[in-house]
Symmetry: C2
């Protein structure tokens, strides 16, 4: 074994177990790293943290924009591309992007047919996306909005009035994006996005907290033998802090709460997403899926397709969320439509 001797520079006193440089620069460094990795798919709106399709603006197509605080990767830049989003706006970690950044995204992707903003329901995001929409409208652009509030865990939470928007947002990207790609109007794209919002429900749980790099320590604690049910993707409180239970019991808790809300009938079809929050191994997500699928089978709900992986994360939080999307023929067809993005290829 050869022992190498390296000369190390300091990490500025920050002793986070993270692969980063200056904690203040993580979002900018990440954006540059994304651009270097995917230059044929994505480009940057200069001077912003906005990533758009390499071919944007796509003339004659409704454009879709999403975004929000960073720390939820691959959301949302991973879903920018053919058949999904036209642009993603990245705020600082767990912090809404500013209206001028969102406005820059709107202008950059406008193809003349209007822009749909897909907003996760957090108070800061709602406010800033709405301000950006007003700025755009004063310049004569047509902007529509859809607010995703799929998290059935709690009615109101730290940063939200009403239900939070979490992993179900990705189904809105996929389905509204597919319809936009076919040349549908802004009204039609907005309507299908709203149908997805009506039909999608999620709920999550966490085993460990996460650390915002600039803060330097976890924003909250979960005891060694505890978990939190219904925790949000920024660590907002859930419904119960309890002792750690088995994967099968976690599945029962999450799915029964979702089904109670979604009122599915036997024979109906769903798309199922088992989403990891950042540091949960794929092995554990599949173990969870085994029981989730069994519960749905017992209730005679047909699983049309299952997506297992990381779609909407929370830095290195460990935990998961389960999302069910109730399907009809239109939604199935759009779910099956081609998409070519970094994190969702169909």
């Amino acid at each position: 074994m050869v022992l190498l001797v390296y000369t190390f520079k300091s990490l500025g006193g920050i002793q986070l177990k993270k692969i980063i440089n200056n904690p203040e620069d993580v979002v900018q460094d990440m954006i540059e790293g994304i651009l270097k990795a995917h230059p044929s798919m994505l480009k940057n709106v200069p001077g912003t943290s906005v990533l758009i399709r390499a071919e944007a603006p796509v003339k004659g197509k409704v454009a879709l924009i999403s975004g929000g605080g960073s720390g939820h990767e691959p959301a949302h830049a991973g879903f920018v591309g053919k058949g999904m989003l036209d642009g993603a706006v990245a705020g600082e970690i767990f912090t809404s992007p500013t209206p001028d950044q969102i406005f820059a995204a709107i202008k950059a992707v406008d193809g003349g047919e209007g822009i749909l903003l897909i907003i996760k329901n957090y108070t800061g995001d709602i406010m800033n996306f709405e301000m950006a929409a007003e700025l755009a409208e004063t310049e004569g652009l047509r902007v529509a909005k859809v607010v995703v509030n799929d998290d059935v865990a709690v009615e109101n939470s730290t940063y939200t009035t009403g239900r939070r928007g979490i992993a179900g947002t990705v189904f809105v990207h996929k389905i509204a994006g597919a319809l936009a790609e076919r040349g549908a109007s802004l009204d039609e794209v907005q309507q299908v996005a709203e149908k997805v919002v009506r039909n999608v429900r999620s709920m999550g749980m966490a085993l460990t907290p996460c650390t915002v790099p600039a803060a330097g320590k976890p924003g909250f604690q979960i005891g060694e033998k505890e978990m939190e049910i219904g925790m949000g993707i920024h660590g907002e409180p859930g419904t119960a802090r309890t002792e750690l239970v088995s994967a099968d019991e976690i599945a029962e808790i999450l799915v029964s709460r979702i089904l109670e809300d979604l009122q599915l009938q036997p024979g109906e079809q769903v798309a199922l997403m088992i989403n990891g929050l950042g540091s949960t191994p794929l092995m554990e997500l599949y173990i969870l899926n085994k029981k989730v699928a069994q519960i749905l089978e017992e209730r005679k709900i047909a699983i049309y397709d299952t997506y297992v992986g990381e779609f909407m994360t929370s830095l290195e939080m460990s935990g998961c969320s389960v999302t069910l999307l109730k399907l009809d023929d239109q939604l199935i067809e759009l779910l099956e439509a081609p998409s070519d993005t970094v994190a969702w290829k169909k």
Copy 2:
């Protein structure tokens, strides 16, 4: 906020922060969860932990099998499908599958044109895959082998004579799988697999250890302010245990060691993989990629394509590996060929 009251069963005294049931059942539970998630793509060889293509055996095609200990998901079942593997054999966690399991896989995927075994270089895997090959040959099957040893960190390690096989193995799956799909012979498929092995180099580092569920505690420790350079995907020792450094310095350490070994010339092209070991957020992998790409640009090495994500993990270990594959026209064409697997769609 509604506080729900749940009745919890016990987790058998195990207080792991994991989404699992019985620690002894994690591999079986995972396999069932994978099958429930992807029934149109994968099927099980009954009574084994072997997952094969839903359409296997594919008549008239060389079949490819890989596998090894579990805990490296999505490797290898995530790479089973059109254009990549025909079957994956899952051992217990970090434990080679037994010869009879591998033999069952060989028989299940045999399409009459021979079988290529893609083996990561660990002593147990080599021994068991070779025994399975002998069993198959006594039944008249043609079996060829390729051993992947891409890890440049150390020459010999805990479970290995010679260099270890890590994330570069996935490029062997992709490229040999693409050639097999076109109807090439067993010799041709083996030769291109060996070319990939000659051209691929990787090196990793870890920030935290991981816990094998049945063991119940981490197999090793890394200090609060430390990292380990060159650590293997089962926690085998690397080249240096050092203080934690920045993402840019990690990139320099890993890439310079790989380039020293791979002897790339200015103007040559590579495929680049930035692989997360299990609990490293995508954000950090992209931050690392920024510097890795810069280093390659400075050396005038062209990056043909970049793959960022989790390909070869180590349970919930935090850390990463960097892989470079030196390309030529044949390898580029095969890398671009269609593939339709759970974890690699092209």
